[in-house]
Amino acid sequence: MTDPILATHNLQKSFGALKATDNVSIDLYPGEIHAIIGPNGAGKSTLIAQICGELKPNAGRIELLGQDVTHTNTLTRAKAGIGRTFQISALAMEDTVLQNVLLGAVGAVGSPWRFLFPVLADKLLYSKANDALKRVGLQGDAARRTSDLSHGQRRQLEVAVALTLEPKAFVMDEPMAGLGAEGSKTLTGFLNGLRDEAPILLVEHDMDAVFALADRISVLVYGQIIETGTVDQIRSSKAVREAYLGSDT
């Protein structure tokens, strides 16, 4: 078996008495979509934040491409190849859509220290940014101000920015949230093709999307992974149904 691109080992994080991440070990292999599902407050975003370096775990280890990155910051992990999208859009709202993806391109190329050259005249940056917009279907909105976008379009833009980074692994926190049926279907199709570029760790509430996309699903409840398995295994798991699916669907 090949090595995982991304893995956590016995990760722990507490907020006071609350164990938001309780001994979590998950991994992400090349070419796969690994979904993490769980009820509200289960600790999904907290887990993602540790994987991306925004939160320090109390214990445990995080590996990216075989390297221990537990004690590195967000910046280092982004450079090492994590492409992340936020549950709550973190975009430069006053800027245009194009400027937001250009930022990703500047980051990917690692060249923010040019002061006198117009960013729009840089063909490489521009084509990277434009490609990403095209791929998520936002090319027609490039000149719009980000704050004027619909919620769903902002979700698409989040994905577009991650695309410009050409990451080794995507980490997405509820990319479908608020997209609507049509929007999630489009994004589902898109993510389905994306796994060949880099595997996706996908936190998602939209069960249709998860069942359509995931190679493996991990179920997180009260900070613990209660089960990891294929779509069929998870669907037929009694424990999962009791803890989560039963009450939700």
Binding site: L75, P112, W113
Partner: protein, 327 residues
């Protein structure tokens, strides 16, 4: 966008036309006022890079303005007294040459901005405002206690410094120098705002998390912006000292920091020519109302209040009709 560009052009043309008119009509004081406005504008253009692009609310920019001023004062003082600035470990002579003075002013204020930035950028919000204010006050009290250079009384320089090929004592010539520097810095500012650095800095202000996740360091971007900002305000300080042929601790006072910030907010934060409009309006009010009442700042305060409440994009935003600068 087109309208704002026209407005920028118009503002600069007016700022140039007034002293030319004054020259023809033999009104040297008006030329001095225009020079004062151009220098204040330059100081505010500096602050606007930190405040407008970087979102860094610095209430300590008087530090850089004053350092620029004292760089001029100290160098020119030693030149006029024929004493070296220092002898050990090596000899540094004073100078009356503006370009050298500017260079020294920019390097020293840039260095100060680097150090102040390194310490204060660890904080945000009110703490950042307070730390920058505190640094400004440190310089203020230090200059008061620096008896060698006049302490509280400041330093007088008898003759304006030299610029190759120009008689700087002629008011319009000195205005031309200040105006040219202002235009040059505005041009550079325009380029920086559109550069990859400007794009990243702009994003670092709005969504630092996002900037980190694309592998860029928002703190470092802000630090560089702060240094750039300090360098420009320092240059303005050197010119201001040369305009008055006098430097004093007042240049370091927190009122000076506040005024520089008022220029920016009045004209329009993050607008290329916002600081210019703000500085021009300030100098006009100061001149028109200052003669009527010692308390003319009341009117300035009222205007500032109106702008903050009803024109978030400042006067430039109000006229060009867009609340937020786009590019």
């Amino acid at each position: 966008m087109i309208r704002e560009r026209y407005l920028n052009g118009l503002v600069l043309v007016l700022l140039l036309a007034v002293p030319l008119w004054a020259l023809i009509n033999d009104q040297p004081f008006t030329i001095t006022l225009a020079t004062r406005a151009a220098i204040f504008a330059l100081a505010a253009v500096g602050l606007n890079i930190a405040l407008g692009l970087g979102g860094l609310v610095s209430l300590g920019h008087a530090a850089f303005f004053g350092i620029g001023g004292y760089a001029m004062g100290i160098l020119a003082y030693h030149a006029q007294t024929y004493t070296p600035v220092m002898e050990l470990p090596f000899v540094i002579e004073g100078t009356k040459s503006m370009p050298i003075i500017w260079l020294v002013a920019m390097v020293t204020s840039g260095t100060a901005a680097l150090l102040i930035g390194l310490l204060s950028l660890r904080t945000t919000g009110v703490y950042f405002i307070m730390i920058t204010l505190a640094f400004g006050q440190m310089f203020y009290f230090f200059s008061i206690s620096w008896i060698a250079y006049g302490g509280e009384d400041g330093l007088s320089i008898y003759i304006r410094n030299d610029f190759p090929g120009l008689n700087t004592l002629v008011p319009i010539n000195f205005f031309a120098i200040c105006f040219t520097l202002l235009c040059l810095v505005l041009f550079i500012n325009g380029l920086v705002a559109r550069s990859p650095f400007g794009l990243a800095l702009n994003a670092a202000r709005q969504a630092p998390q996002r900037v980190q996740t694309v592998g860029l360091d928002p703190q470092r971007l802000k630090l560089v912006a702060f240094v750039l900002s300090g360098v420009i305000t320092g240059l303005a300080g050197a010119l201001f000292a040369d305009l008055n042929r006098f430097v004093s601790p007042t240049m370091f006072s927190w009122q000076t920091s506040g005024e520089i910030m008022i220029f920016v907010i009045l004209g329009g934060t993050a607008r290329l020519c916002g600081p210019v409009v703000g500085a021009v309006v300030f100098v006009m009010l100061e001149h028109a109302l200052g003669g009527l009442s010692e308390y003319w700042h009341i009117y300035l305060g009222a205007l500032l209040l109106l702008v903050v409440l009803f024109a978030r994009g400042g006067l430039v935003g109000l006229i060009s009709g867009r609340a937020v600068a786009h590019d």
